[in-house]
């Protein structure tokens, strides 16, 4: 949900910074979709883990979420610093 909100705010940049912001919007929406679609699998994994009283940590999902936020922030900094404002 927070990713969708971020994507909606990126939309506000679209008229000012051009098509490049479209990649930011698409990236944020893709990340939000991936999180939403894998939600059920993670929930079942957590339930199984509690049931068996042992659960290996989900390194892949955690790293992917952190990486997507870092990439979005990097692209945002690039947009602010290097993309000129369009009238």
């Amino acid at each position: 949900m927070a990713m969708v909100v971020a994507a909606a705010l990126f939309l506000r940049w679209l008229p000012h910074h051009g098509w490049f912001v479209g990649t930011l919007v698409c990236g944020a929406i893709a990340a939000a979709l991936a999180i939403n679609l894998t939600q059920k699998r993670r929930f079942h994994r957590a339930v199984r883990g509690i049931n068996r009283e042992t659960m290996p940590p989900d390194l892949g999902s955690t790293a992917a979420v952190a990486a997507s936020v870092v990439v979005l922030a990097l692209l945002g900094i690039y947009t602010v610093l290097f993309l000129p404002l369009q009238p």
Binding site: F10, E53, A66, V69
Partner: protein, 133 residues
């Protein structure tokens, strides 16, 4: 908890997870899940800062000059970057500490967030006071 279940869980981890998390025993799954929840809370904070940076750049054109606007937006976006990346390493360090039964590490991203937030707030306060009426 029997030992063989812990060994089974260790085998279920991938090669990268085994290398990054090291040895030790699987902690109580509730602790693992609590660590994940804390990680997600930091990610939400990071996304809020990201949205704040975008909002400053997009919505405050009539209020702030271009240089000040750019400075505040970049500051917020850098803070989002540091918090987002730092939250993963915090999660990893806590996970390692729980596996080896050692004390939990200090969250270094908390003072970063506090100092960064205070800096942005101070810039805004100076701007509001110095702005001609």
């Amino acid at each position: 908890m029997p030992d063989d279940s812990n060994t089974g869980a260790k085998d279920a981890r991938g090669r990268l997870a085994s290398r990054l998390l090291g040895g030790g025993t699987e902690p109580d799954p509730r602790f693992t899940l609590a660590n994940e929840r804390t990680f997600l809370a930091w990610i939400r904070t990071s996304l809020a800062l990201l949205a704040g940076g975008v909002a400053v750049e997009a919505f405050m054109a009539s209020l702030l000059g271009p240089e000040l606007r750019k400075t505040i937006a970049v500051l917020l976006l850098v803070l989002a970057l540091v918090i987002g990346g730092g939250s993963f390493f915090r999660w990893l360090n806590v996970e390692r500490a729980m596996r080896s039964n050692s004390p939990l590490p200090l969250p270094l991203i908390a003072p970063v967030l506090a100092i960064g937030g205070a800096l942005v707030a101070a810039i805004m306060v100076v701007f509001v006071i110095a702005r001609p009426a």
